[in-house]
Amino acid sequence: MLVKVDATRVKETRWHEFAVRFLLGGFITAFAGIIGHKYGASMGGLFLAFPAIFPASATLIDKHEKEKKERAGLNGHGRARQLVSVDAAGTAIGSIGLFAFALVIHETIRDHNTWLVIGGATTVWAGVSVLAWYLRKRTRSSFKRAWFARFHGGP
């Protein structure tokens, strides 16, 4: 499946669901700052990759999928769990990109322009994440094809 932009889910999201994400994001950023100030930058840095809004986002996916299936007269529990699982797998792949982001900051921030480094690191995060996602997708597809050919006598 190709990557597509689909605004349906944004339209389904209610204002209080946006507010929860804003509050959680703000809270964890402020918390990371407080920890860094109290226990040192090294300890505070750990919270920069804390799964801050993952529980809220996953719950939203779950809720929206169940509502969608219920509207069609179906039970959406299984499908909702599958979607959350796939979303979490995407996050695991994205964490490789996030590692690359931190590595770029660590290696370059002392000697170069701050905004250039932060912009460059964000681009590296996006590039590495998308590449890792694409490679995983390709590997899985070839594995599935090989498995199917082996057990079902395909080409």
């Binding site: 990371a32 799964p51 796939v86 797998a89 996030l98 590692f99």
Partner: protein, 113 residues
Amino acid sequence: MKLILIRFLIGGISVSTFALLGDLFKPKSFAGLFGAAPSVALATLALSVIVEGKDNAATQSTSMMLSCVALFCYSSCLSWTMMHRPMRTIWATILFLPVWAVVSFGLWAMLLR
């Protein structure tokens, strides 16, 4: 107090923006990449450079690398569990947070303390 409030606002905006971007994309595995967006990091590191200097930001990014490994473990455990066990999403996402904490603080204690 003023700085905490600024952190809160910038963090909230940054996290909401990346979450919104994640909502826009299909398939779900691609949208999931935004669950590991550097939203909190962007806000924190930019403010750290301004307030405390570049060395502080470099130190934070070192330990951030360790917590990225923890985030990978957390989301992988969650992904496997949600696919194979009939567990409620909210409980699963909260139940695995100690995985993040153990890996994160464990690696920090071994490598950076």
